[in-house]
Amino acid sequence: MQNNEPIDQTPRRARVPRILLGALLLIVVFLAGALLLLGTSWKIPRAAIASSGYQLVGYWVGADLPGGKFDRPMGIAVSPTGDLYVSDARKRIVSLGAAGEFKAQWGREGKGPGEFSNPADVAVAPDGSVFVSDYDQDRVQKFTTEGKFLLQFGRSGTGAGEFDAPAGLAADGAGAVYVADFYNHRIHKFSADGTWQKVIGHPGRIGDGALHYPTDVHAAAAGRLLVADAYNYQLQRFDPDGRPAGRLGYHLFWLWPRPTASAAGFNAPTGVAVGPGGVMHVADSGNHRVVMLSENGEYLAEWKIPAADPGVYSPEKIAVSPDGHTIYATDYAADRIIVLKLVGPTTGE
């Protein structure tokens, strides 16, 4: 049998560089294509308003609280009347006035009504009712403004209305409740009576609507949602029907290097809140800072925790006063609430 195949007479030494060159060319073409398709919005643009900023008002440690000072505070929410609700590791919810004065507290360790294992977040509905998510018990409890138990919903699992670590909560103007389901990588929508309605987003690393360990959700004006998609290192917007409506701070190279520069993106943004006029405030915990973005997602300002412990991501969650002038953030690592004031054009003054 005769072999008619041409014999490659190129010396082996010459073939190796050619293969390497081809591989290099392929990589370059792939990267260029990926940048063209996905990488166009990986930086947060800077806004024209440069004089906006944060000013530290103070730190609230809860020295006068009946059950002891704040211990690893995590969840935070502001009611329509301006009262503040905070959850902490003492398995309780603390209510404070706008000046930080103690108003009420409730909760203790346990699995019954009004009891908690790990109250991760708080949300206040327009009627003043308070929702609390329990990270360990996979349930949400609803209380009156004063802390009287009303109802509960959710259980452990991956099905409809089931959670694995409900990390974040929000209530919209119509009373619907949204839950950031950390280990199931999705957002749930419930009615005010705890009836499950739908799932928003899906597990994933790339693309609109793909969520990776979401830690917080905020119900913005006109039924729009803003999600702290913490481990995709970005924020995601959803329209009132739950359809993806854009990403903020997204960067192609989410694997490495992680963004750390003030205007280049987030490192585990775990909390988000929107003030009047659409100004966004982000608890960029991996960068130990609070970031202010315009309604269009442009970078406005930041405030960094002085001498922050580099080994613990903080601040975790964030809330805005009804007038939009005061920002509260839970500093888990330092057992306190950070109180900031807005200065500059974004205050509207």
């Binding site: 590791a89 991760a120 990270y135 360990d136 080994g311 991501y313």
Partner: protein, 120 residues
């Protein structure tokens, strides 16, 4: 005679109690487990790790040190846990377990409060 029988019964009861107590407290086996976990910095992740480890039947309590990058498990009296189970629980929490070390000693059922990151 009655007194002698009563004394004997009392001694027997005491002996049984001592034996039972000795069995409970003197039993040795892995009482603590140390799991090396890298990349612990985020409180949500740490709490998730503790949540998944606490789900194991043999685990009475978990505390995590962000500084050391380590989870320390207290096991229930007389219970043991499989290394494979531990690695799976850590994986479910989104991490990869490094070195796992079992510490022999009298079993305990004390659940200790988890410490915050940085061990301030």
């Amino acid at each position: 005679m009655n007194i002698n029988i009563l004394t004997a019964k009392l001694l027997l009861t005491l002996f049984s109690l001592c034996l039972a107590t000795g069995m409970a407290f003197g039993q040795s086996g892995p009482a603590k487990v140390f799991i090396e976990v890298k990349g612990l910095a985020c409180p949500f992740c740490v709490q998730g790790l503790e949540k998944h480890l606490k789900k194991l039947d043999a685990v009475a309590g978990v505390r995590t040190s962000l500084k050391k990058g380590e989870a320390v498990l207290d096991l229930r009296s007389g219970r043991t846990v499989d290394e494979k189970e531990l690695r799976q629980a850590v994986k479910k929490a989104g991490f990869t377990a490094g070195r796992i070390r079992f510490e022999e000693g009298p079993a305990t059922a004390t659940a200790e409060k988890s410490v915050k990151g940085g061990e301030k």
